[in-house]
Each structure stands twice: as C-alpha cells, then as structure tokens.
C-alpha cells in the first residue's frame, strides 16, 4: 500500500519545522489499524508493553577495538523496533548480537548483558543453536538456498525436527509471508528463478516456518525495488501482531513508516581516538522524528547530516 504524503495547507506558518517534516515523510500518527489484514492472523489488540529484550551496556568488539558500545535499551513484544543511523555505527553488529550470529566471527567479543525474557543470551550453558530457533534473521541480500521453493521453506522445520505435515507447514509459512498465491503452482521450481523481492519474501517465509518468537531484519529492503519494498513493509506491519521485529534500516522514511520505537545510532571518537558506534537516543518513533531530544538525532532525521 503506497504512502500518500499528506500535504499541509500553507496557512499555518507558525507550525514547528519538525511537524511539517514528519507529515511530508508520512509518519503514521495512528497505529496500523488501517493496514490490510492478511489471512489467518488475529486482529491487533491493545496490550501493555512487555519487553522481550533488555540490553544493558552492551559492547561489541572485533579484535581489540570496540565497534559499538554503551548500548542500553529494550525491545518490546509485538512491536517493530528500528535501528537507524549512518553507515558504520554498529547497527548491524548490534542486531547480530541478538541471535548470536556474531559467534560465527572468531574475533568478535560481546560484553554487557543481552537479556532475552530475563535470561542472559551469553550466559554459560546457553546454546546458540537454541537461541537461533527462537530468534530468526532476514539478511540484507536475499539468500535463498539453491533448492526448490518447497525445500527452502521445509529446510528449517526438517532440521529442527518439527512435527506435522510438511505441506501444511510450507503453505502456512508462505501464506504468512504473502507469497503463497504467487508461487503455489511452482513450489518445486528452483528458488533462484524468483525475482529479488520474491526471494526476500521467501527468506521471510523460511524464517517464519520455524515459528520464531522474534524476527531480526538487517536492511531487508536495501537490495530491492520500491514496489517490493512496499510489499515487505506491509508484511512487517502485519507480522508484528504475532512476532516481535527488530529492523536495521538506512532508510529513515522506512523506519518512520513501519516502526513503533526507534533507536538512533551514531559514530563517535572515544577516549582513545577510536571510532565506535553508540546509541544516542531511543524513543517512540513519532517522537524521534517529530521532536527528538538530542540535536544529533535531529540533524540526522532532518537530513542535515548523512
């Protein structure tokens, strides 16, 4: 569903610059009640905010130098939390901590506490494989497996030993990802034959098939065209009714369109003259884009700084 920029009449010159900006980039002032319902998902209910992630002074280093430090905020249940900021400020590094994907990099080191439902993700005895069963990830460049569409989706359930009819599991996942109608007649064809946008929705469906609790998205639309981007944004808004979503994005307007909370990152020189990322501000999306507390945030969201 494409966003219509709301045009303001010109007879309100005293209006704050921020508010005018927020209108022109189409911030949703209300909740997503207006979004089209997708088959099978219950309608949105208002409930109290429940944090599922609690980050306490998290710092990630590759080798001796920290890439991002001093990260402390929480991520709420059934919300979309956006991580925004310029390149190189550690957003991707941080999101990869949330499902222990940084374990795959030998020199990576995580300090601080990452609490998931109250448990420290990096505590002793925690199995990274179990973590990833519950916290899924969609990557920047769609990475379907060189197999059929069906086998792509079925891979996760099979290796996790999920019970049930694989046909039903695949259909359900593809439906949740708004892809079923497009591919239901060619489930056995190779996934590489799909367009970029379809491949990314396939990756989302693949993630959904293992029934995660949280979905992490690392710039999921940056390699896609605007129409595919729009479809995935609509998908995200529907998915948050059942899942909690964290998204890294370079696209401010996207963050403003879809997210409930936003964390703004920036790069700073620390005491030893090293560049590292940190969170400047974390708040409701609307506040970040209309009335940010920090001047650096304001500079970024108004486009003064890149």
């Amino acid at each position: 569903m494409p966003d219509q920029p709301v045009t303001e009449p010109q007879d309100k010159p005293q209006e704050e610059e921020g508010r005018g900006l927020s209108r022109s980039i189409g911030v949703r002032a209300q909740g997503p009640a207006g979004a089209p319902a997708i088959d099978g998902l219950p309608p949105q209910k208002k409930k109290a905010r429940e944090p599922i992630f609690d980050l306490e002074d998290v710092q990630v280093s590759y080798g001796p130098k920290p890439a991002v430090r001093g990260v402390s905020f929480d991520i709420g249940r059934n919300e979309i939390t956006a991580l925004i900021g310029p390149s190189g400020c550690g957003k991707s590094t941080l999101i990869r901590c949330l499902n222990r994907m940084n374990d795959l990099i030998p020199t990576a080191r995580v300090e601080g506490r990452v609490l998931y439902h109250g448990q420290d993700l990096y505590g002793p005895g925690v199995d990274a494989v179990e973590v990833r069963k519950r916290i899924g990830m969609v990557f920047q460049k769609p990475n379907p497996f060189p197999k059929s569409i069906f086998d792509n989706i079925a891979f996760g359930p099979r290796v996790l030993g999920m019970k049930g009819s694989m046909d039903e599991i695949v259909e359900r996942a593809l439906t949740h990802a708004a892809l079923w109608d497009e591919v239901k007649d060619r489930l056995k064809t190779n996934a590489f034959g799909m367009s970029g946008g379809q491949q990314q929705r396939l990756c989302i469906a693949r993630c959904l098939a293992v029934e995660p609790d949280v979905i992490l998205m690392d710039e999921p639309c940056s390699a896609l065209d605007p129409i595919s981007t729009g479809k995935i944004e609509d998908l995200m808004i529907n998915l948050k009714q059942e899942y909690s979503i964290v998204i890294v994005t370079h696209n401010m307007q996207q963050a403003a369109r879809v997210s409930d909370k936003t964390a703004f990152f920036t790069v700073e020189l620390d005491d030893e003259e090293h560049r590292s990322g940190r969170v400047v501000e974390f708040d409701d999306t609307e506040k970040i884009f209309t009335n940010p507390s920090d001047s650096r945030t304001e500079a970024y969201v108004t486009g003064k700084v890149g």
Binding site: F139, N143, F145, V159
Partner: protein
C-alpha cells in the same frame, strides 16, 4: 615536423616487425608442443590399433605375442581404482571439510597441514612406492603384494588432488548460504551436510575423477611395491596378487622383440586402451561439470 614524423614512421615499422616476429616465434614454440603431441598420438595409434581387438581384451598375457592379451591387467586396474576411490573419497572430502569449515587458519598446526598437503602433491610418485613397500606391503601392515596395498598406495599418491579440488568446491559456496542456514537454528554439521556439501558435489566429483585419471596411469609406485608382471588371472579379492595396465604395458615394452614374437604392438595396444579409458573418464568429468555446476 615532417622530418620528425618520418623518423617516427620508420621506427614504428621496425618495431612492428619485431613485434610480429616475436609473436610468430611464440606461435612456433606452441606449435612445436602441439606437433609433438600429435606425432605421439599418431605413432601410438599406428602401432597399436591393429592389435586392439576383443581378443586382446579377453585374453591373458602369454609368451606368445599373438595370443597375449590384457584381461588380467584390465581387471587389476579396475580393482585398484575401486580401492583407491574408496579411500580417497571419504578421507579427501573429510580433510577438505575440516580445513574449510572447522580449522582456524591462524593456528600453526592447521597451516602445517596445508603446507604438508601442498608438499605431498609434489613428491615424486616413486617415493610413494617406497612408502607403500615399507609400510603396507612389508613392515607394520605386511599386507603383501595385494590389491589392497596397491590401491592404498595409489590412494595416498593422489589424495592431495582430491583435497585441493574439494577445498575449492567447498570454498565456492558463498558464506551467505551458511549464514542463512545457521540463522534458522541448524547446527554447523547440519549446515555442512545439507547445504554446503550438496552444492559442492560437482566440484568434488570432478576432483575425484581427476585423481583417478592420474592414478590409473601410474607405473613407478606399483613397480616398487612389487606388482607382479606375469599374472594370468583376474583379482578375486582385496588380498589377491595383481597386475595393472601400466605394469603390463611396461612389461611388453621391456621385452626384446624378435622374429617370433613382436611385443611392440601389444604395448601400443595397451597404451591405446589406457588412453581410451582416460578420455572416457575426463569426458565424464567435463559433462558433470557442465551439467551440475552451480552458478551463484
């Protein structure tokens, strides 16, 4: 101005001549190699094609050149290749998986393994024969001059080929596939077994065929471990004495020919048969690569 351009014109003509001469010289050198190969092939075919027949394949060797055939050597070679393949596929692929997926390349022992494999690939093949003689045929294992010893010796010789080809095939699988799999909650081995290996199989298969192509023509190691040259039966098991095609060919080359018995056509026919087998194996490798190669 015009004086200058005249001088420049002359120099470039001379230089162009030198260029052309050089290029022709290079082409001539390439042609020499091509011509030699052609003459070699023609010579072998001319000497041997007359003798290549079903009788040749189905007869055993004999003093009488007219009656001799290559059956025992052919079956010996087939048995040897079987043992060789049974050894190099699991060991070579496992080593390649370890080096690419598990080994931390900053650790000295892993780099030692890598350098060691590179070195083994360049050790003269006859040294592998000595190794086989000392450890497999005699010494600790004392298997004797049997198929198992011969197959393992050849296997050790060509193992580096499989390891190197396997590593390249595994390395060609993009990291994004592994990330995608692990992000779903698959373990490292599940990722390797269900994603990385299936995608690497065409490259690995090509490597195995390349390795067997080398092994099939190797004579020196088999001589040293004591493959017998006069055998008139096919191998019956891993503990059978054996001969092999290169050994049989060598035997026929070494026998002086006289008026009664001319062994040269036998040797040439054996060579022809060996080359036919090689062409067949390499064609399969090329077909495999074209049909199944994964384009990322």
């Amino acid at each position: 101005m015009s004086a200058h351009s005249g001088a420049v014109g002359k120099a470039s003509a001379g230089r162009r001549g030198k260029d052309r001469g050089f290029q022709l010289g290079l082409l001539f050198c390439v042609a020499v190699s091509v011509v030699l190969l052609a003459v070699l092939l023609v010579d072998v075919v001319a000497d041997g094609v007359g003798r290549l027949s079903w009788d040749f394949i189905s007869s055993f060797t004999s003093i009488s050149a007219d009656q001799a055939g290559i059956q025992a050597a052919l079956w010996g070679t087939i048995w040897l290749m079987g043992v060789c393949a049974a050894f190099i596929v699991p060991v070579g692929v496992a080593t390649a998986i370890y080096l690419e997926e598990y080994a931390d390349s900053t650790k000295w022992w892993n780099r030692l393994i890598e350098v060691n494999i590179q070195n083994l690939a360049a050790v003269p093949s006859i040294v592998y024969g000595i190794l086989g003689l000392a450890f497999l045929v005699r010494g600790p294992l004392s298997l004797g001059n049997v198929v198992l010893a011969g197959g393992l010796t050849l296997g050790l010789l060509v193992l580096p080929v499989v390891i190197i080809a396997g590593r390249e095939a595994i390395r060609a699988v993009p990291p994004s596939i592994r990330e995608g799999s692990m992000a779903l909650g698959a373990t490292q081995w599940q990722t390797i077994w269900r994603q990385v290996l299936p995608a690497s199989i065409p490259g690995i298969a090509t490597g195995v065929i390349l390795a067997l192509s080398r092994a099939i023509g190797e004579t020196a190691p088999l001589i040293v471990i004591g493959a017998v040259t006069v055998i008139a039966f096919n191998p019956t098991g891993l503990d059978s004495p054996f001969t092999a095609m290169p050994i049989q060919i060598f035997d026929w080359i070494s026998r002086p020919s006289n008026d009664v018995n001319d062994y040269r056509p036998l040797a040439a026919a054996g060579i022809l048969l060996l080359m036919i087998l090689l062409v067949a194996m390499n064609s399969v490798a090329i077909w495999l690569r074209n049909r199944y190669e994964q384009k990322w």
